[in-house]
């Protein structure tokens, strides 16, 4: 067999396998307990929307906090720099679930009042996002070659102008894929706020599962909800990431 033929055979085998898998799966999926699940669908979809809101809001808050953190870590005065580095690394080394508990338990001490689960969820996801995004931003800024800063300063631009017009535009472009990757990671992390009682997509499915006996149908919906959300974000990441395109 020649080279091109082997490629065609393998592609044919692959699609044959996919077709068989789809047919078998479709047959099985059709026989799941859809009638029992149908009434809960609006509830589940609302919860999926809530997970998206959690992810997007906390990313937004995270970005706002991450910039000063990253800049302090890069350019801050000695003491502050260590402090920022320590905070970022501590959060990154702590399980996401622990961060969620932590915010939930600490808030009353700091604010003096109880905290709703929803606010604790937003707070903790924002803290997580801030730490990871600060690292993304720092990496993005560091990725701009020092020679360009030197060239810019040498041409008479001030440090601030150099940062604004030379460093930042390139850094933003370089950090975009990592930023989107964090959105995927954060979207998956939202499932953990289940543990403090927020009615996110994951808890909604868990609750429904207790009410109606349809475990496979529900977990299929659960998996599909997360998979489609993350896969979509992941595709966008690849679209933006020139390194990924080179790898293909």
């Amino acid at each position: 067999m020649n080279a091109a033929g082997s490629q065609r055979l393998q592609a044919a085998l692959w699609w044959l396998g996919v077709a068989i898998a789809v047919i078998v799966a479709a047959e099985r999926v059709r026989r799941l307990e859809w009638a029992a699940v149908a009434p809960s669908l609006p509830f589940l979809l609302t919860a999926l929307g809530r997970s998206w809101v959690l992810a997007i809001v906390s990313i937004a808050c995270g970005v706002i906090a991450a910039f000063p953190l990253a800049l302090t870590r890069l350019y801050g005065p000695r003491g502050l720099r260590q402090l920022a580095t320590g905070a970022i690394e501590a959060v990154r080394a702590t399980p996401e679930l622990m961060v969620i508990f932590w915010v939930y338990f600490t808030w009353p001490y700091l604010a003096g009042n109880q905290v709703t689960a929803w606010n604790a969820a937003l707070g903790s996801l924002s803290v997580i996002a801030a730490a990871y995004l600060a690292e993304v931003i720092r990496a993005g800024i560091s990725s701009v070659p020092a020679g360009q800063v030197e060239a810019s300063i040498a041409s008479g631009m001030s440090g601030l102008l150099t940062f604004r017009y030379i460093v930042l535009p390139q850094a933003l472009r370089n950090m975009l894929p990592a930023l989107l990757a964090q959105l995927v990671a954060l979207f998956k992390t939202t499932s953990l706020v289940y543990a403090i009682g927020v009615m996110d997509f994951f808890r909604a499915v868990a609750v429904t599962k207790n009410a109606v006996f349809a475990p496979y149908a529900l977990y299929l919906i659960l998996g599909a909800g997360y998979f489609v959300s993350c896969f979509a974000i992941g595709r966008i990441v690849r679209w933006f990431d020139p390194r990924y395109q080179l790898l293909e």
């Binding site: 067999m1 020649n2 080279a3 091109a4 082997s6």
Partner: protein, 255 residues
């Protein structure tokens, strides 16, 4: 032309829609040295890589050492052990010392005992002129030294055929000679060699035949004397004109 140790019979190969080998027929007799030249992208490397089946062909037949190349993995692996190959970019293993680079295949493919493999490797390193570099790592060597290690590595398997793909074109001028000398030594020792190179001095000195390729076709095939002085095809003459014009002391090919 029958009975060659390497025979191409109407070989075709495509990369997608690119026809890289277009009806190539060629025979190399045992002990011959054949030099292949031609413009960039003409399919020289591909031709070479088909001989030890690093590339598969789409049509036609290649017979090496009496056996047609086919798909059987075991046969191909056994055949490759009998054919040495030297690459433009050396391709030494950077994590192994020079000695280990040379010893790896004798140990793992031939299953030789360690001291036997070591003796062979040291012997070959002496033959290519760098016995003192045995325990160095590739990154510590000059390009010319690395290429000589690569030749020793290929020779350690005791091949019947040696393939060279532009072995000197990644080298600084002062190192080209040391590599060519090793190759001349091999040729004079009776090795069957297929050499892709634009070192026409080498071709004149040791080649039995020179093959000129263009756009995947073998355009011209002749003994060096005829090739340099009486090339038939205008493409060959134009190519020779380009690569020979700035080499003093060589006759202008187009006259």
């Amino acid at each position: 032309m029958a009975g060659g140790i390497i025979e191409f019979r109407n070989v075709h190969k495509w990369f997608g829609t690119l026809h890289v080998l277009d009806d190539v027929s060629l025979a190399v007799q045992a002990g011959q040295v054949v030099v292949v030249c031609g413009p960039s992208g003409s399919g020289k490397s591909t031709l070479l890589r088909c001989i030890n089946r690093l590339e598969r062909i789409d049509r036609g037949e290649i017979v090496v050492d009496g056996a047609p190349l086919d798909d059987q993995v075991r046969k191909i692996t056994r055949l490759r052990a009998e054919i040495g190959m030297v690459f433009q970019r050396f391709n030494l293993y950077p994590h192994l010392s020079v000695l280990d680079n040379v010893m790896l295949a004798p140990l793992k493919v031939r299953g030789l005992a360690r001291d036997k493999a070591r003796a062979i490797a040291e012997d070959l390193l002496a033959k290519v002129g760098i016995p003192e570099k045995a325990s160095a790592y590739p990154a510590q060597l000059s390009g010319g030294q690395q290429q000589r290690v690569a030749i020793a590595r290929a020779l350690a398997m005791g091949p019947k055929i040696m393939l060279f793909d532009e072995p000197t074109s990644a080298l600084d001028p002062e190192m080209i000679q040391e590599v060519l000398e090793v190759m001349v030594g091999l040729a004079e020792g009776g090795m069957t060699m297929v050499v892709v190179t634009h070192e026409m001095g080498f071709a004149r000195r040791v080649a039995d035949r020179v093959v000129f390729m263009d756009a995947g076709r073998v355009v011209e095939e002749a003994a060096p004397e005829d090739f340099f002085t009486r090339a038939r095809d205008p493409r060959t003459r134009s190519f020779l004109g380009k690569i020979l014009s700035h080499v003093p002391g060589l006759p202008d090919a187009s006259t």
